[in-house]
């Protein structure tokens, strides 16, 4: 073949435009994915940082039937890793946010002001809340200066925001949430629920505890005061400078939602935080302690155990679940806690000698994520707490035999090649109602999962009635609002639709799945 100048030019152009240019461009995302997979947090000495306890929010005022609070959501710098400053987004600028303590049947009114650069939504997880205060994913509280445009709030499928109608800009940057608290004493939590961006916004720090107390709980001799310890457990990854690392498709959180492909089925941090401190340590007396455990991680499951186990085994006495106190205590060697679940447990440190170091381990973790925190039994003290054989009065579980309907929902995650996550093979559409239960009715809902999914229903509580065709698992006791499901599992739950009429969501609480649209609507009619 004769090589002419024209042929040479053609070959050059073909090679350049057809191969070199596309391959050169392809190197950019490949390098980004490679870099994202190799981010490792700075080393932190485990069990050296003291365990912080989130402060309790003080009401601005109270009246006969309600407590009033004000919370400002804002960026702040916080020392999470020793000697480093980390920018977080926090309720009142702290992570985890301040704890709200409520009494049963006394309304809590919280005015949230948004000083963050993005829209926010607040959901009270586990709360029996009217729909307008539940934190529907498109009920935005707008950022300052962002009140006039909804363009940047169109996410997957270009959904228009709901719940933002007119009003002065000051009103649109703040929202009042009312929580009636007509439910038993329980460990709840409040967190961000913005459509398509819940994962990164919770990750940045928008989560806090919300405790409901009542007379039943008051009457029990459970450990209290400094012997009642909240443990908000989550995993995070940090850059070399101490900044939080999250693999957002668009780190501004105002454009393309979702994560890089390697985190599409959940982002797992390499540093375990408890109450915002890495692998903390706390000194305790040799008495019973009540641990209110919340898994606030985006995607990580924990199987918690104590190392060494106390003599005689069964270190954990579970006294409560998502929905409140159990009828009777349940003993566990370890507890499986999926994202968003709460376990209310008592550990009796009198079973250890003074001076013992008791490490909370995560049997599901590897390497650094196998450790969670440490208790040091530092002193003797007189025991004042006890766990009675009967905790709550009859929990009045719904009878599945009287259920009005049985519905089946399959939770199927998108592949890392880029599929959306679905419920019954349908992505979330705020306009579509997937179930319309009657107010006051009981229904049986059957869930099937393709991989690990913690499944959460807003508004309601349910009881697990079977797991994989057999009886409920050891961690299914009590009223639940979130159920842990492993790959390929089938779980049946009896749900009582009480409280309020209106539209609510149910979804996978792996927040990356949720943001990739593994969510659906039910409307109580």
């Amino acid at each position: 073949m004769e090589i002419t100048r024209r042929r040479l030019l053609k070959m050059g152009l073909t090679a350049g435009a057809g191969l070199a240019l596309p391959l050169g461009t392809l190197a950019v995302p490949l390098a980004r994915l490679g870099a994202a997979s190799s981010v490792t947090s700075p080393n932190v000495e485990p069990f050296a940082v003291p365990l912080p306890v989130p402060s309790v929010l003080k009401p601005t005022h109270t009246d006969a039937n309600s407590y009033h609070y004000e919370v400002t959501q804002k960026p702040a710098e916080q020392e999470i890793l020793p000697g480093m400053k980390t920018e977080i987004w926090g309720y009142d600028g702290v992570f985890p946010g301040p704890t709200i303590e409520a009494r049963r049947d006394r309304t809590v009114v919280v005015r949230h002001t948004n000083e963050l650069p993005v829209p926010v939504v607040v959901h009270l997880h586990g709360g029996k809340t009217p729909p307008e205060h539940d934190g529907y994913p498109t009920d935005f509280v707008l950022p300052k200066g962002g009140g006039s445009s909804t363009h940047s709030m169109q996410g997957h499928g270009g959904h228009e925001p709901m719940g933002m109608v007119g009003g002065a800009e000051a009103d649109r940057n703040a929202r009042v949430y009312e929580y009636p608290n007509g439910q038993p004493a329980a460990t709840l939590w409040y967190h961000d629920h913005r459509m398509d961006f819940t994962g990164p916004q919770v990750y940045k720090g928008l989560a806090g505890l919300y405790l409901i107390r009542d007379e039943v709980e008051d009457s029990l001799p459970l450990p209290r005061g400094d012997k009642e310890v909240p443990l908000v457990i989550c995993d995070r990854t940090f850059g070399e400078d101490g900044s939080l690392y999250y693999p957002s498709a668009d780190p501004s959180l105002m454009g393309e939602p979702g994560t890089l492909a390697n985190a599409i089925n959940g982002f797992f941090g390499d540093t375990i935080l408890v109450n915002g401190a890495p692998w903390p340590v706390v000194e305790v007396s040799n008495t019973m302690h009540r641990l209110r455990v919340l898994n606030a991680s985006n995607a990580r499951f924990y199987e918690l155990t104590l190392d060494p186990p106390p003599p005689g085994g069964k270190p954990f006495v579970q006294i409560g679940s998502d929905g409140g106190l159990l009828e009777a205590p349940v003993l566990h060697d370890s507890v499986l806690v999926s994202p968003a679940e709460r376990f209310d447990m008592v550990v009796d440190f009198s079973r250890y000698p003074v001076g013992a170091e008791v490490t909370v381990r995560n049997l599901e973790g590897e390497g650094r994520t196998r450790d969670v925190m440490r208790f040091v039994v530092a002193r003797k003290e007189k025991e004042e707490g006890a766990v009675p054989a009967r905790l709550a009065p009859d929990p009045d579980f719904s009878d599945p035999k009287g259920s009005e309907a049985t519905r089946r929902f399959q939770f199927v995650a998108g592949g890392s090649w880029g599929g959306m996550s679905t419920v019954n093979f349908r992505v979330f559409d705020p306009e579509r109602v997937d179930a319309s239960p009657r107010l006051g009715s009981t229904e049986v809902w059957e869930f099937h999962t393709d991989q690990d999914h913690p499944i959460h229903l807003h508004l309601v509580h349910f009881r697990v009635i079977s797991r994989n065709g057999g009886p409920p698992g050891p961690h299914d006791a009590g009223w639940k609002d979130t159920v842990a499901m492993r790959a390929g599992e089938d779980v049946r739950v009896a749900v009582r639709f009480s409280g309020y009429r209106g539209r609510y969501v149910f979804h996978c609480h792996n927040l990356e799945h949720e943001d990739m649209m593994m969510m659906a609507n039910f409307e109580v009619v």
Binding site: M11, A17, L26, V28, G158
Partner: protein, 139 residues
């Protein structure tokens, strides 16, 4: 390389040059979208990558006397680009595996419009040889 035989007539060369410019523009648009698309959705990202490679090859080939195979390749490629864009915005693709309808971003929209114009130009270039053959048969 594409289209080394049965060249288009000289009359169509101007149109071919315009088509080449458009194919190159389309390639640049696709490459603009490629990093974000591939990093978040490798499947659609791979499609964008292959489409960009195809448009680059098409552009180079159109500049140097495209043959029938170049035209056919260009028609197939741009029809695929236009249909894939429309399908993923209207129906979602593939629905069973959980794709949502993708949002209509300006870059993708412009690349699709360019694809439609390219289809028209390629059809016009492709009509040249056919018309000549018809003429010959009539004579």
């Amino acid at each position: 390389m594409l289209g080394t035989s049965k060249k288009v007539p000289r009359k169509a060369e101007g149109t071919a040059r315009h088509a080449a410019a458009l194919a190159f523009a389309s390639e640049l648009l696709l490459l603009w979208a490629l990093p974000g698309e591939f990093a978040t959705r490798p499947l659609t990202g791979s499609f964008v990558f292959l489409a960009a490679v195809g448009q680059g090859l098409l552009a180079a080939s159109l500049l140097f006397g495209p043959g029938r195979w170049t035209i056919r390749f260009g028609l197939l490629l741009n029809a695929t680009i236009v249909l894939a864009w429309a399908a993923t915005r209207v129906a979602g693709f593939p629905a069973l595996l959980g794709f949502a309808r993708l949002s209509a971003q300006p870059v993708g929209l412009i690349a699709t419009v360019v694809g439609i114009v390219l289809l028209a130009l390629l059809l016009r270039i492709g009509d040249g040889p056919k018309a000549e053959r018809k003429k010959r048969r009539v004579r």
